[in-house]
């Protein structure tokens, strides 16, 4: 060892401070372990806090406000057209992010977690080299890899820091409100960010290679959003790809290809939202026996353990659904396993939420999956036209759907679209995790008037008698 090189020892080394990493670190510390968290940025939070969930939801909330202010005219309140101060929006987002990041730093410190800024790479299965930090090596008893993922680009297209071709990261910087924006990819990132820019006044053209938006989401849940986006966006072009994408100082030039031919178009900016890749580069995985799957995600077992006995991986880097809440649970499991508890990832329902307006949320089995698996299920739908609360909010385009096992009457899946369904889906998760039958949901009293009633009424439809809708005989 070179003189002057600082080596530290820790019980648990967590690499990456996103929702997977910090949840793991906090849980491990709460279980009495000595924890070191290495993070590239000065503060924990990861993509979710700095370049993902939190900034996008901040802007989506403002988009919703804009829409509500506009449609209030129909309800008897007319506002003058809003003045959009983009600097003010950025400052507000920065304030939100800063507040949460400071909270995470405090929570780390109060738990006695050592936060180190830098990049860690395995030298062997028990030690990492630390770059960009005065401590140069850390020996650990156990390590948790929580390095997350990054947005991918189109082949041959390089995303520059302040360029006109953006990934979600740059789009959330909100450099300006482009007059026209090309969104490439009809997944939830493209729809959410496309919605933000369209609400702020950009003319958004969305292209998607497949034949529909949000692949995997049931058709009936997608329908209201499709309807809204057709008005909000300038164009939605399905089965359309990009064969070339270049930028100049002033504009982006895209060659779009579809069944009707190839055409060149120009936009002020373009957003590439076609997926994410795990961050495994530069981690020194070659110095361990950790294995990657064909997509490049780290292979783990249900205890989040990699092929190395003392190294765990959680969150995006370990594959599966790339969602913060799934990462957090995995992080806690890894910490508990390290502390000797018999934890394992055995979730039966991981909720997913698309924060567009209307929102779409689902958990457990989807209708599409039930069909593919040929499961014997009964599906009941409660349309929000029959919901009093939805009527008060002018949000009757929603739909609540439950998917119930035909034999056992157990709730297998829930899908909802409409306003504020992000919160409604949690009841479905609990129901599925608890093994609830439809009757359990129907018999649990739901407050009136709320949107949550749509869930108990869907269960009542299943039982044959719902209050606010005539069940089919």
């Amino acid at each position: 060892m070179v003189m002057g090189e600082l080596v530290q020892k820790t019980d648990v080394l967590v690499i990456g401070g996103g929702p997977g990493g910090y949840a793991a670190a906090f849980r491990a510390a709460d279980l009495g372990l000595d924890v070191t968290l290495v993070e590239l940025n000065a503060r924990p939070g990861g993509v979710c806090l700095f370049r993902g969930c939190i900034p996008s939801k901040t802007y989506l909330y403002l988009s919703e406000l804009l829409y509500d202010a506009q449609r209030a005219a129909k309800m008897g309140i007319a506002f003058s057209p809003p003045t959009i101060d983009i600097n003010g929006m950025r400052a507000w987002k920065a304030k939100v992010v800063d507040r949460l990041a400071t909270g995470l730093v405090n929570l780390s410190e109060k738990r006695g977690i050592q936060l180190l800024q830098g990049r860690a790479a395995f030298e062997n299965p028990r030690q990492v080299r630390l770059f960009e930090n005065e401590i140069s090596h850390i020996k650990f008893h156990s390590a948790i890899i929580a390095t997350g993922s990054h947005p991918i680009s189109l082949p041959g297209v390089k995303i520059k820091k302040e360029g006109r071709i953006m990934s979600s990261t740059e789009a959330l910087e909100l450099a300006d409100i482009p007059k026209s924006l090309l969104v490439i990819g009809g997944g939830y990132v493209g729809l959410e960010l496309g919605s933000v820019y369209a609400s702020l006044g950009s003319q958004v053209t969305l292209i998607e290679k497949g034949d529909r938006l949000l692949p995997g989401v049931d058709d009936d849940l997608l329908r209201p959003l499709n309807h809204r986006l057709k008005k909000l966006f300038t164009a939605i072009r399905l089965q359309t790809g990009v064969t070339a994408l270049t930028e100049t100082e002033e504009l982006v030039r895209a060659t779009l290809e579809s069944a009707s031919g190839t055409q060149q178009e120009t936009f002020d900016r373009a957003l590439i939202a076609i997926g994410r890749k795990p961050n495994t580069q530069g981690l020194g995985l070659e110095n361990t026996s950790i294995e990657l799957d064909p997509q490049g995600f780290i292979v783990v077992d249900e205890q989040q353990r990699t092929a190395e006995k003392y190294i765990f991986a959680v969150g995006d880097v370990a594959g599966g659904l790339l969602l913060a809440h799934k990462a957090s649970r995995e992080g806690k499991i890894a910490a508990e396993v390290i502390a000797g508890q018999p934890s394992a990832f055995d979730a039966r329902a991981i909720p997913a939420v698309v924060y567009t307006d209307p929102q779409i949320a689902w958990c457990g089995l989807t209708e599409t999956e039930a069909q593919v698996q040929n499961r014997s299920v009964r599906i009941e739908r409660f349309p929000w036209q029959a919901s009093g609360r939805a009527a008060t909010m002018g949000a009757t385009d929603g739909l609540t759907k439950i998917i119930v096992d035909a034999a056992t009457e157990r709730i297998l899946g829930i899908g909802i679209t409409g306003r504020h369904v992000e919160g409604l889906i949690a009841e479905g998760v609990l129901a599925i995790e608890m093994g609830a039958v439809a009757e359990d949901m129907a018999l649990s009293i739901h407050p009136h008037p709320t949107l949550s009633e749509t869930e108990s009424e869907a269960a009542e439809i299943f039982l044959g008698s719902a209050t606010h809708i005539l069940a089919k005989k």
Partner: protein, 428 residues
């Protein structure tokens, strides 16, 4: 061809042990019979010999690991490959090649779907190492409840169902020791060390947490004048020693307790909440708490009511020796109906013991001391005399017994110990 060595059945109902040391290293050439591991079970440290001859390829455990019977411990290469391979292929027995990890209890079987059970119940099942699919569900819609898991775990461990008998410290893991998630980082305030919470200590922890969480405890205190009993004890101590016995206060306490248990059978009972019944036992097997280097162990003396003071003195002495040497068998620790704990030799006075679940009462003896006692004499009223006073405590399960019962029980014990003649009468 690699072959796995799995923890063999160590007998006597032992299901798991803690690896104390690994006596070999990867690459060592081992001959059948060489000692390869030291494993501590709830009762004894066992050195495990190798069943194979060959080179060690992998060591899958480390000191401190808890291993269960059937867990793979290490893998061996075998020199005689040609002989071994066909044998293993044709006879897939328990000894056959096993390099796969233990079956995952959480992974749902594809064609059955997951067993309906709440996340907390599923976690409990993992803690107790129970396969949810094997449990008969009691919840609505076929849901497996936490209670179902506990009951199944208790039944799976021993032939004795939970509600009739339990053992200490090898009690089935019916209630996990709850984890205090909020421990601060103590090393902020000074140096600390971490000592494993394992084996007997862990078994005690489980049993005590269970008892404390399930039983509403009430403790009463009394004192006995044992001046005359002590004279009696000193008179006979030598002849009993000559017979191999040790005439301690515990021997008399056993006898006194048996007398009181016969008088008040509800103390010799267990509560079966599920069937809403009190199980009264018509045998008097009394556990005696023994302090060993590894922690508390409670062996049981059977049919105390039918044995003489001399027999009990000999049997108790022998049982305590055996227990301290970690040689007591699982049988020695099962079947108790009541427990006596004598901490007198350590000098403590009054205390409040925890009931040995699923029993419903425990009696404790403190340290006897000469004390001034006011007595009434026949001539001139009161006088103060030095007497040897023994503190006695009795903890009851208030679901089954009341404070008044405790007083009545205690009075029988006091009367018996105060008057050796009466105690001896009961021996007949």
């Amino acid at each position: 061809m690699a072959r796995a060595f799995k923890l063999p059945d160590l007998g006597e109902g032992i299901h798991e042990g803690e690896v104390l040391s690994v006596l070999v290293a990867i690459g060592d050439d081992i001959t059948e019979g060489d000692l390869i591991l030291e494993v501590e079970t709830d009762k004894a440290a066992v050195e495990i010999p190798s069943p194979y001859t060959g080179k060690i390829l992998e060591i899958l455990v480390k000191p401190g690991d808890i291993v269960k019977v059937g867990d793979a411990l290490m893998t061996f290469s075998n020199g005689d490959e040609a002989e071994v391979i066909p044998a293993e292929i044709s006879v897939p027995s328990a000894n056959a090649l096993q390099t796969e990890p233990k079956e995952d209890i959480t992974k749902p079987i594809a064609d059955q779907g997951p067993v309906p059970a709440s996340p907390a119940t599923r976690r409990l099942a993992r803690e107790l190492d129970v396969d949810l699919r094997k449990i008969e569900p009691s919840g609505s819609g076929g849901r497996v409840t936490a209670e179902d898991v506990r009951r199944f775990a208790a039944q799976a461990v021993g032939p004795a169902p939970l509600n009739t008998e339990s053992i200490l410290p090898s009690a089935p893991p019916v209630a996990p020791v709850t984890m205090d998630a909020n421990l601060p980082n103590f090393s902020k305030w000074g140096t600390t060390e971490r000592v494993p919470f394992r084996s007997i200590r862990r078994a005690i922890g489980k049993q005590m947490s269970l008892a404390w969480s399930q039983i509403p405890h009430v403790t009463s205190q009394g004192s006995v004048d044992i001046t005359r009993l002590e004279e009696f004890r000193r008179r006979h101590i030598n002849d009993i020693e000559a017979k191999g016995g040790k005439l301690t206060l515990s021997v008399f306490a056993l006898k006194a307790a048996a007398t009181a248990l016969r008088a008040y059978p509800n103390f010799n009972a267990s509560l079966d909440l599920e069937n809403e019944e009190i199980i009264i036992k018509h045998y008097y097997h009394i556990g005696v708490a023994v302090d060993t280097a590894e922690g508390l162990i409670v062996p049981v003396i059977r049919d105390v009511d039918r044995k003489s003071i001399t027999e009990l003195a000999i049997e108790l002495n022998e049982l305590v020796q055996r227990t301290r040497a970690r040689k007591a068998s699982l049988d020695d620790m099962q079947g108790g109906t009541f427990t006596i704990t004598n901490i007198g030799p350590m000098g403590t006075g009054y205390f409040a013991p925890i009931i040995n679940y699923p029993q419903v009462a425990i009696m404790g003896l403190g340290a006897a001391k000469m004390q001034p006692v006011v007595i009434e004499n026949e001539t001139d009223g009161y006088e103060i005399v030095p007497r040897l006073i023994l503190p006695v405590v009795l903890t009851i399960d208030h679901r089954v017994l009341d404070g008044a019962d405790a007083s009545r029980f205690m009075q029988v014990v006091i009367d018996s110990l105060q008057d050796p003649d009466e105690l001896l009468m009961t021996m007949v």
